[in-house]
């Protein structure tokens, strides 16, 4: 039987996997299991006959909720699946604890945990029995009542994990055709994994349980986690590489069990299931192994884009790996992005992380860098263009004259710094008991993910209350390209060319360019904006970023929370658009402008190399949690051997020039238009949205149009 997986390239996707695996993938991508998951949104506490819930503390409610999930969540074993366990409750897809009480969600305002990459290595190495020992050890220490309650909740959650696990064992015990799966689950995740197959099962089962309880964890360095197991098995002849590929493929396919089609705004696949490949280990050795290549094989063949993959590249990355990446990228879907790990590691160590920790970086699900298994991460996005328009230029109702570019720039940085102070006061300070910058306030319980984050168990503190080794809140600047373009246009028009006075220009902008079309056309067509390798504007962007990061660094030593800077929009340019007014760079009120640290759509005239150069002029090692660049190419650009060379050269140039993170998407605006008209013909066409991918047809119109505009810009 033939199962087609969409490709943007005229080079066909290779076929290495067996028919039943391909079928499983096809069905999962076409919503079979996602729809099934949606059928059961939640389990009810009423099943456990719990009555006096009002007298429960949040932690007690949470504990009861996890138990009812473990006991009652539907079990699902798919035909021919090689690994078992499934996150089968629909509200988990919505990031909620999927538990109800008297027909209402148990917690009205509870959201699960995302933006984290847990420590899977530990569960693979010690099993949940080992975890239990660890918890008991901590309980035996001299601890507070709060710590004791938390650690008891930890024990309870491990018990729940076991209950859910044993239910699968019971179900599989007598199912013909699932003997291997049963055998594996007799070992993991209770005991340490002894081989590759068990390790994949253990990893999946743990991941699925976290998801089942409403969390969206990432995966992280899968080749580091699984590499040793595969190496051993291959050496001992226990497994062939194609058997290993089938097993691992099922991990990726099962990761699609939440895809349910339909219109979901920003797409159907935004669950932060990151995968990080290759790079160096904490000692500086290259970790690239067979698993690295198996992952590439699998996504190349099946086009699964639900695990956003980022490959860590450095100056010495093997040509063979680069070529494989280029081959996969060429099929489109933006499945693979790259880090320049030299810069990332420098950013982390400059910020103060120990080198060995920095070398082990992964991310939070999209691409914001963190130390996996040890970090409580969140980010605060803000619109830097709004600061320019509202604060610096007072919505263009300017009564004071600004005399020079220097004055303008200084005023802007001052306003930026005020905004960051507000952000800090609003998002960081309230996490601590007032008057004390080290005592964390009580937060919603999140014991399940705390089990897999160092040092929650050791410290007896939950993930949200200071348990992890690193606690990060990263302000993320958005709209930076448009701020640079705006400042540049004012500089050229008012201060350099003196075409009109500052005040007159503000009047033009206040009127949303009404009646000034020639001037607007002049501003649009005469200046080379950010993204065209024009030093004059690129260094405005670079300077702002550098100043931004310096401002943030002032907040690092106030509380245990660190405040590193980063750059992103993640598609927020859509929601910001209605609040934005005319820009000095010729845009009118309400237009959708730049995303991440990419050029504003329509302004990049010089092509991908110029965009990369503009981007790399900023000292990106100051953006600790990352700065993303999106590059869109047409299938035509990357056809044939020349096309592969081109992708490799782009990546190599990006590394040489000091880039941080780059996502390359290959898509054809004509095809995307057609997919809008005939969604039924493109069920598996996926696109890079921002830090994640999605089936194009599941995006709503606004998002679809943004993607089309982005890809049309390159024509």
């Amino acid at each position: 039987m033939e199962f087609e997986f969409y490709s943007a390239s005229d080079t066909k996707r290779p076929i290495r996997l067996c028919d039943s695996t391909r079928k499983f993938s096809y069905e999962s991508l076409n919503h079979k299991y996602g729809k099934d998951t949606r059928k059961n949104p939640a389990v009810s506490l009423d099943l456990d006959n719990i009555k006096n819930i009002d007298s429960f503390s949040d932690l007690e409610k949470y504990n009861a909720g996890i138990l009812v999930i473990a006991k009652n969540a539907p079990l699902r074993v798919c035909p021919n699946e090689l690994i078992c366990g499934a996150a089968t409750l629909g509200n988990a897809i919505n990031h909620m604890l999927p538990v109800e009480y008297h027909g209402k969600p148990l917690f009205e305002s509870y959201s699960g945990i995302s933006h984290l990459t847990p420590n899977y290595t530990e569960i693979l190495k010690i099993g949940y029995r080992g975890l239990r020992e660890k918890i008991k050890l901590s309980l035996g220490k001299n601890i507070s009542q709060k710590q004791k309650l938390f650690l008891q909740s930890c024990l309870h959650c491990v018990d729940c994990f076991e209950i859910w696990h044993k239910r699968y064992l019971n179900k599989l015990q007598n199912m013909p055709g699932y003997e291997n799966q049963y055998k594996n689950l007799c070992v993991v995740p209770e005991y340490p994994a002894t081989c590759f197959y068990e390790a994949v099962q253990s990893l999946w089962f743990t991941f699925a349980f976290m998801r089942l309880t409403g969390n969206w964890p990432g995966i992280g360095r899968i080749d580091v986690i699984l590499g040793e197991y595969l190496k051993n098995d291959l050496e001992k002849g226990l497994l062939t590489i194609s058997q290993a590929r089938e097993i691992l493929a099922h991990f990726f396919i099962k990761g699609c069990e939440w895809i349910c089609g339909g219109d979901y705004g920003s797409g159907d696949a935004q669950h932060y299931q990151n995968i990080v490949l290759s790079g160096i280990d904490s000692e500086g050795n290259d970790v690239t192994n067979e698993v690295t290549f198996l992952v590439l094989d699998i996504v190349e063949e099946l086009g699964i884009s639900d695990f956003p993959i980022t490959v860590r590249i450095n100056k010495n990355t093997d040509k063979k790996l680069l070529r494989r990446i280029a081959q996969v990228i060429r099929h489109g879907g933006g499945v693979i992005a790259v880090y320049n790990e030299d810069i990332v590691i420098k950013a982390l160590t400059d910020f103060g992380y120990p080198l060995s920790e920095a070398r082990n970086f992964a991310n939070d699900g999209c691409w914001e860098v963190q130390i996996p298994g040890k970090t409580n991460f969140s980010y605060i996005p803000f619109d830097s263009l709004a600061i320019l328009q509202k604060n610096t230029l007072n919505n263009y109702l300017i009564d004071t004259d600004i005399k020079s570019f220097k004055e303008l720039y200084g005023k802007y940085i001052h306003n930026l710094s005020e905004e960051l102070d507000l952000i800090y006061k609003k998002f960081v300070e309230p996490l601590f008991i007032s008057g004390d910058n080290s005592e964390w306030k009580e937060m919603f319980p999140c014991t399940i993910v705390s089990l897999f984050e160092h040092d929650c168990i050791e410290r007896g503190l939950s993930y949200r209350e200071g348990g992890p080794v690193y606690n990060i809140i990263s302000p993320h600047i958005g709209g930076i390209s448009d701020v640079a373009n705006s400042l540049y246009a004012i500089k050229k028009l008012v201060f350099d060319e003196k075409k009109l006075s500052f005040k007159d220009f503000m009047k033009v902008l206040y009127d949303n360019w009404e009646g000034n079309e020639p001037l607007r056309q002049y501003v649009l067509s005469s200046y080379n904006y950010y993204g065209n390798d024009n030093d004059e504007v690129d260094y405005i962007a670079a300077d702002i970023l550098s100043d931004f990061s310096d401002i943030c660094s002032k907040y690092n030593s106030i509380t245990p929370i660190k405040f590193p800077s980063g750059v992103s929009t993640f598609g927020r340019q859509i929601e910001w658009a209605p609040n934005r007014i005319a820009t000095p760079s010729g845009r009118k009120k309400g237009e959708i402008l730049s995303g991440n640290f990419s050029p504003t759509p329509g302004t990049d005239k010089e092509g991908a190399t110029a965009i990369i150069k503009s981007y790399c002029k900023a000292d990106l090692s100051k953006q600790v949690t990352g700065a993303a660049l999106d590059i869109g190419l047409l299938p035509y650009n990357v056809r044939g051997e020349d096309g592969l060379d081109a992708i490799i050269s782009l990546i190599s140039g990006f590394v040489t020039l000091g880039g941080y993170f780059m996502q390359i998407d290959i898509s054809d605006p004509k095809i995307l238009h057609d997919a809008q008209l005939h969604p039924e013909n493109y069920p598996t066409l996926s696109v890079r949205v921002s830090g994640w991918n999605a089936r194009f047809v599941t995006l709503n119109r606004e998002w679809q149009n943004m993607i089309i505009e982005k890809s049309a810009g390159k024509l």
Partner: protein, 295 residues
């Protein structure tokens, strides 16, 4: 010494190996009816007028020759009156009026080419195209020489029609040739390009003795050169060359026709010239069967 350049395009991927920056020089000895870059045919300066960018602001009306006329909200550009003084071009706010070419020094061109050094790797570099780069032979050779000196790989896309006295110099500073063969039939060549193909083929055979790498670029124009005789002759040429790496087939397309609009205010697209996909495949197979490496 200045070179007439119509465009310098960065991030080109199909103008020779690797990522390349292609420099389009103005002027061509041929007048192919299917030309995709009509703005590069004339060596003399011209003006593009893009009606879709025009906002009818009438700033160009100040033309001392009265070449810009406005009637009933329509803008007429009377090119025959124009003396290329450039007044309207500088006055136009939206770049609806633009000079086709710019006079640039070797240094200025190289400065732009060098911007992408980080992306050239082992294979990428500069490609000269046009027009026919060898319409400005000494200048083109100087540019190539300067690029080589700066460590940048060089490619030249040529129609092959130039004076053989430059051949030695050209070959010594060119790493890759993309050699256009429009048609192998002498009469048709004359009819559709304005010149016969003697010089082109003679230059090709002479270049083959000293050049390191040649790719033949062959345009496929339905009902004109899409026949067996042409392909057979092509294959024979291919086989007689020692440094030819392959044949690239370029199906005629109509994308270049918008530039006719910009230059002459009329379309030049001929849809009937577009070859069928099945024929392109046929041509590929035919040439491959004849022992050619089709890229």
């Amino acid at each position: 010494m200045l070179i007439s350049v119509t465009n310098i395009q960065r991030f080109c991927m199909h103008d020779g190996p690797g990522i390349r920056t292609t420099v389009f020089l103005k002027g061509c000895p041929l007048r192919c009816q299917w030309c995709h870059n009509p703005e590069t045919q004339e060596i003399k300066q011209q003006i593009f007028y893009a009606q879709n960018k025009c906002i009818y602001c009438r700033a160009c009306e100040e033309c001392p020759q009265g070449a810009h006329k406005f009637e009933n909200d329509c803008h007429f550009f009377l090119r025959k009156n124009c003396i290329l003084c450039g007044k309207c071009v500088s006055a136009c706010p939206s770049k609806a009026l633009e000079f086709v070419s710019k006079e640039m020094s070797v240094e200025e061109i190289l400065e732009i080419v060098k911007k992408d050094t980080a992306f050239y790797g082992e294979k990428g570099g500069m490609t000269l195209s046009g027009g026919e780069p060898m319409m400005q032979p000494e200048k083109a050779i100087l540019l190539l020489k300067a690029a080589k000196k700066a460590g940048i790989s060089t490619a030249v896309e040529t129609c092959g029609h130039f004076s053989e006295i430059y051949l030695n110099d050209l070959c010594s500073f060119t790493d890759y040739f993309l050699w256009d063969i429009k048609d192998t039939d002498l009469e048709r060549h004359k009819k559709f390009t304005g010149t016969d193909n003697h010089k082109i083929l003679n230059n090709l055979f002479a270049a083959d003795k000293i050049a390191s790498s040649i790719i033949l670029r062959c345009i496929l124009i339905n009902s004109i050169n899409t026949n067996k005789e042409h392909y057979t002759k092509l294959a024979n040429i291919y086989k007689s060359l020692k440094s030819c790496r392959g044949i690239e087939l370029i199906p005629y397309h109509v994308y270049g026709s918008s530039k006719y609009m910009l230059l002459y205010g009329k379309e030049n697209a001929k849809k009937e010239w577009i070859p069928e996909n099945s024929h392109i495949q046929y041509a590929k197979n035919f040439l491959t069967d004849m022992g050619c490496n089709v890229l």
